[in-house]
C-alpha cells in the first residue's frame, strides 16, 4: 500500500455552541484522489481549513507526512504550505492584482525562479485552464467560473505535492467541468499529487475519484469507492446520489 500522507484523527470543531465537525477521521494515501461529499453546511470547507492550519480543531489530531499540523512551528508550517495547493471555494483571487500577477505572486515570493521562468509558468498554468486570453484582466472583470479557473491555475502553479480543492467545478458548464476534472486527473498522474476534492458534482467525481467519503452531521457516514457509495442501500445516500428520488418530506417540490 502507498504511503500514508494525510491522517486526520478524530477531529472535532465547534463555533460557539454549534458543533460542525464531530470526530472526523480520514486517511489519504500517496497519489490518491479522495472526494468528499456532503450537504451544504456540513463542514467540508471547515475540514479543509483545519488541514492547512487556518482553523484549529478543538479536539483530535491532524498529521501530514507523519508530522502534526497542530504542533508545527512557523518555519515548519511555511515549508508544509509551500508544498501544498489550496483552491478556495470562493477562489480568493487578489483583487488588486491582475490575473498574471495573481499567478506569479506565490512563485516570486517563495521560489527563486528567473523572470522568464516565472512568466512562462504563469502562461502555461493559464493555458491549462483555457484562460490565456484573460492574462491581463483584473479579477473583477472575470465571471464566477473564470475566477474559479484562475484560482485553480494559481494553486497548481507551484506544482505542490498535496492539493486541496474546494468545489473546483461549481459554476462551470458541463464541458468545462469535464475539462477541469480531467486536468485534475492528469495533474495527479503526472505530478503524483495527493488530493482531497470537495464536490457535489457527479461528473467531476466520476472522473477524479479514487475513493470517496460522505460527511453528514459532523461525521463520516460512509467511505468507499464511488460505485460502492452509489449502489449503497443507505436511504441518505440514495437521496444524495439519485437525481430522480426526492425524500417525500420535501413538500415544496410536490407542486411541480
Amino acid at each position: 500500500m502507498a504511503n500514508l500522507i494525510i491522517d486526520i484523527q478524530n477531529v472535532s470543531k465547534s463555533f460557539g455552541d454549534f458543533t460542525v465537525l464531530d470526530g472526523v477521521s480520514v486517511k489519504v494515501h500517496e497519489g490518491e484522489n479522495l472526494v468528499v461529499f456532503g450537504k451544504s453546511g456540513t463542514g467540508k470547507s471547515v475540514l479543509l481549513k483545519c488541514l492547512v492550519g487556518l482553523l484549529e480543531p478543538d479536539q483530535g489530531n491532524i498529521e501530514v507526512y507523519g508530522q502534526s499540523v497542530l504542533k508545527m512551528k512557523k518555519k515548519e508550517m511555511d515549508a508544509y504550505r509551500k508544498n501544498l495547493g489550496f483552491l478556495f471555494q470562493s477562489a480568493a483571487l487578489y483583487d488588486s492584482m491582475t490575473v498574471r500577477e495573481n499567478l506569479e505572486f506565490p512563485l516570486r515570493k517563495n521560489f527563486k525562479f528567473s523572470e522568464e521562468e516565472i512568466r512562462a509558468k504563469a502562461e502555461r498554468a493559464l493555458q491549462m485552464v483555457d484562460l490565456s486570453h484573460a492574462i491581463d484582466k483584473m479579477p473583477s472583470e472575470l465571471s464566477g467560473g473564470m475566477r474559479k479557473r484562475v484560482g485553480l491555475a494559481r494553486s497548481i502553479i507551484t506544482e505542490p505535492k498535496i492539493m486541496l480543492y474546494d468545489e473546483p467545478t461549481t459554476g462551470l458548464d458541463p464541458i468545462t467541468t469535464k475539462e477541469i476534472s480531467k486536468l485534475i486527473r492528469n495533474l495527479q498522474q503526472e505530478l503524483k499529487m495527493t488530493s482531497i476534492i470537495v464536490t457535489h458534482d457527479m461528473i467531476c467525481a466520476q472522473i477524479i475519484a479514487d475513493r470517496a467519503i460522505v460527511l453528514h452531521k459532523g461525521k463520516v457516514v460512509i467511505e468507499g469507492s464511488l460505485n460502492e457509495l452509489i449502489s449503497s442501500n443507505n436511504p441518505f445516500l440514495i437521496n444524495f446520489f439519485s437525481p430522480d428520488i426526492i425524500e417525500e418530506t420535501n413538500g415544496e417540490i410536490d407542486g411541480f
Binding site: 487556518l54 515549508a79 501544498l84 478556495f88 470562493s90 480568493a92 487578489y94 488588486s96 505572486f105 517563495n110
Partner: protein, 258 residues
C-alpha cells in the same frame, strides 16, 4: 444601564488590548526580512495621489482664512506687522500637522480599513497565509510604514501651501512684497517650532496606518464587517490623533519651552 456601560467598557479595553498586541506585532516584524520595498513605495505613491488634491485645497484655504481672521484682531492691538509670523507659527506648529493628519485619517484610514476588510472577508488574507506568504508582513507592515513616512512629507507640503494662501490673503488687504513676507516668517520660525511639529506627524501617520490595518485585518465576516471596519477606523484614528497631539505638545513644551 450599568451593565451595558460595563459591557461597552469591557469591549473598549479588549479593543485597546487587541490594538496594542497588533502594534507589538508590527514592531516584531518590521525589522525582519524580506523587506517589501516595492510594496511600500507603491503604497506611498497611492497615498500621495489619493490625498494630494484635497490637502492642497485645504492647506491653501486654511492659510487664507487664518490671515483673514487674524488681521482685524491684530489690528485692534496695532500689531498687524506680526501677521505673517503669527500665521506661520500657527500653521507650522499646530494647524498644518493636525489638520493634515485628520484629513489623512479620513481618506486613508477608512481606505485601508475597507481594503483589508474586504480582503479578510473574501478569504484573500487566508489565501496568502496558505501560500506561506505572511499577510501581516506583506499587507500590514508595508501600509503602516508607508503611512508613517508619507504624512510628514504631506504636512510640510501643506504648510508651504498654507503660507501661500495666507500671502494671497494679505495681498488682498495690503501691499507686501514677497521678500518682506518670507523674511518675516524666516525670522520668526526657529528650530523648536519646526522639529517637534514635524516629529509628531510621524506618530500621526503611524496611528492612521495602525488603526486602519487593525480594523481591516480583524474585520468580521460579511459586508457589514467591511463597512464597520472602514467607518470605525476614521473615528478611532481621528480621536487618537487629537489625544496624541495634546500629549506630544505638552511633552515638547517641557523639553523646549518657548
Amino acid at each position: 444601564m450599568v451593565s451595558s456601560t460595563g459591557k461597552s467598557l469591557k469591549a473598549f479595553f479588549i479593543e485597546i488590548g487587541g490594538m496594542t498586541a497588533f502594534m507589538m506585532r508590527f514592531f516584531r516584524y518590521f525589522l525582519l526580512p524580506p523587506y517589501e520595498f516595492a510594496e511600500i513605495r507603491k503604497h506611498m505613491e497611492e497615498l500621495g495621489v489619493k490625498t494630494l488634491p484635497i490637502v492642497s485645497v485645504t492647506g491653501f484655504l486654511i492659510g487664507f482664512v487664518l490671515a483673514l481672521q487674524s488681521h482685524p484682531i491684530l489690528a485692534r492691538f496695532g500689531a498687524e506687522s506680526v501677521l505673517p509670523a503669527m500665521v506661520a507659527l500657527s500653521v507650522i506648529r499646530e494647524l498644518g500637522p493636525v489638520l493634515t493628519a485628520l484629513i489623512f485619517a479620513g481618506r486613508v484610514s477608512s481606505g485601508i480599513g475597507a481594503e483589508l476588510g474586504s480582503m479578510r472577508v473574501t478569504e484573500q488574507i487566508d489565501a496568502m497565509e496558505v501560500s506561506a506568504i505572511d499577510p501581516f508582513k506583506f499587507l500590514v507592515v508595508t501600509r503602516i510604514i508607508a503611512c508613517t513616512m508619507i504624512l510628514p512629507l504631506l504636512t510640510m507640503y501643506v504648510n508651504f501651501i498654507a503660507l501661500i494662501g495666507s500671502y494671497v490673503s494679505i495681498l488682498l488687504l495690503q501691499a507686501m512684497s514677497l521678500q518682506l513676507y518670507t523674511g518675516e516668517i524666516i525670522q520668526a520660525i526657529g528650530f523648536v517650532d519646526l522639529l517637534p511639529a514635524v516629529a509628531k506627524t510621524f506618530f500621526f501617520g503611524f496611528i492612521v496606518g495602525l488603526v486602519g490595518s487593525f480594523k481591516g485585518f480583524n474585520a468580521e465576516k460579511g459586508t457589514e464587517g467591511v463597512g464597520k471596519a472602514s467607518t470605525s477606523s476614521v473615528v478611532v484614528s481621528s480621536l487618537l490623533i487629537l489625544i496624541m497631539d495634546s500629549v506630544l505638545v505638552k511633552i515638547s513644551l517641557i523639553i523646549w519651552p518657548i
